[in-house]
């Protein structure tokens, strides 16, 4: 029964979509068959895979960079009230600079290069991670920190064995919403200055109002993320929570 839930849920999502498409009967909401057919064609042509690979590369690099820097900054700010007060406003500023602005500035300053693209994504994502982890590290268990101090864990051991496991839910949140956010930003980044990638391709479809194409590419990306969920995030989740009763 348990094992059937996921397939059933996916199936029902498809049926919902199919039903809606049948009901609307408009080229603006193609049915899943059309979309998956298109997906197959595009994949067979190699085009889709090329763009997907390019985007995933950018996504990977900027995700890792943003997570590492953001976690470090967030933890520091959460643990040191002075630092927090100092950077608090900066964080608000960078959190609320429109993606468009950073993207344009990055491209204009560094040219239409890969580095500029990745930098733009990182600048957009980093404050999000920092805010999430700051919130997490503000609420650490004092008792355990005191224990670590008494037993002279030192900085690194405390971070790894005491602080990190408590931050874990926040890291997961940052990672999940982070992948989604980066994906949203990367689309704009690619739209404004790259000659390949999913964003570039999606925008072309948009100009031609090819909803089937748009959905086919979206589905491709969603499948990749779902696979990451199943093969990386969820097993990690289970591992990190193995101690819970």
């Amino acid at each position: 029964m348990q094992r059937l839930i996921v397939p059933l849920s996916l199936l029902s999502l498809m049926l919902l979509w199919q039903g809606l498409a049948a009901w609307l009967a408009s080229p603006l909401l193609p049915s899943p068959w059309q979309v998956f057919g298109r997906l197959g064609n595009e994949a067979a042509g190699g085009e889709l895979l090329h763009h997907l690979a390019v985007t995933l590369r950018r996504l990977g690099i900027s995700f890792v960079t943003a997570m590492l820097l953001g976690c470090a900054l967030g933890i520091l700010m959460g643990r040191h009230p002075l630092l927090d007060r100092w950077f608090d406003s900066w964080l608000t500023v960078f959190l609320n600079i429109p993606a468009l602005v950073t993207i344009i500035l990055c491209y204009v300053w560094f040219g239409l290069t890969e580095t500029a693209a990745i930098l733009a994504v990182v600048v957009n994502k980093l404050p999000n991670v920092a805010v999430t982890l700051r919130e997490g590290s503000r609420h650490l268990d004092t008792g355990l920190l005191e224990m670590a101090q008494v037993y002279r864990f030192g900085r690194w051991k405390t971070l790894r064995h005491v602080v990190w496991p408590q931050l874990y839910p926040f890291v997961v949140t940052a990672a999940r919403t982070g992948l989604a956010l980066i994906w949203k930003i990367i689309l704009v980044v690619e739209l404004l200055g790259r000659s390949d990638g999913m964003g570039y391709q999606l925008h072309l479809f948009f100009q031609l109002f090819d909803v089937t194409g748009i959905l086919a590419y979206t589905v491709a990306f969603v499948i990749v993320i779902q696979l990451i969920e199943w093969t990386v995030l969820q097993p990690l989740d289970r591992f990190a929570n193995r101690w819970r009763r």
Binding site: Y107, G111, L112, G193, S195, Y200, Q207, L208
Partner: protein, 305 residues
Amino acid sequence: GSRDITVGALAYGTFNWELTVIEREGLDRRQGFRLKIRKLANPQAGRIGLQGGSVDLIVTNWLWVARQRSGGYDFTAVPYSLTHGALIVPPKSPIHTLADLKGKRIGVAGSPLYENWILLKTLARRQHGLDLEQDARPVFGAPPLLNQQLRQGRLDALLNYWHYAARLEAAGYRRLLDGGDLLTRLGITPPVPTLSYVFRERWAADRRDTVTAFLRAAYGAKDAICGDRRVWRYVAPLTGSTDPKIQATLRQRYCQGRLRHWGAPERKAAARLYALLHEAGGDALTGPAAALPRGTFWADFVLPR
């Protein structure tokens, strides 16, 4: 200077047709330069690339050039095409003249700074005393989205860029008037282009031969597209459509828009257009300069024969 030119072009734009022909037919080698193409998905991407020096040449509106020149940049323009956006209505629409636009929902591509929108407003006011901002209901939005809205009947008329308009025309929609008509009716003759090849003046000064060679090749490509069936056969898929009717309409409009003359009268007409837009649209569209900034059009350009 070097003989390389990096060109930024929209993947499904007509400029890309030309570049493809230049490449396939080896026009660049024949004219003695090396072409590098950067495909882009968005018109703004070209401008960003040009600003940042990632591309040398793009196709865009010369009004932008004029505005940037007021801001201290040395961009300059060379006429690209006379095709203009058009005002499209559904096949059975009761709208036949501008006066009929009263109270109607008019879609406008992009923003209120679209030059054809400003011209349309000016003409409506002059001819019919209509203030379209007040007397009609303009809706601004992304061009493809607006096309869709018109098809769904959520708009009564649509002022859109020419290649979007062409798609509607191919589907049986009626062209009420286009940007060229607007100019003529506002007394701006001979016809002037709005789309231009744009590059940096100083960059061009260092490689005048290369730029001239490129422009010669580009104009050669235009003729090939319009005159050579063999060439059209491989250009057609670049329209992004498989519908032969749409392809044909796009080609027809493109070829009609080829520039025949470029001389003093045209430059003067352009200056008048600038002045008119400056008056009607204010600083926002054209920049602060009251008259067309000198050098907006590249002085060294002569229409290739």
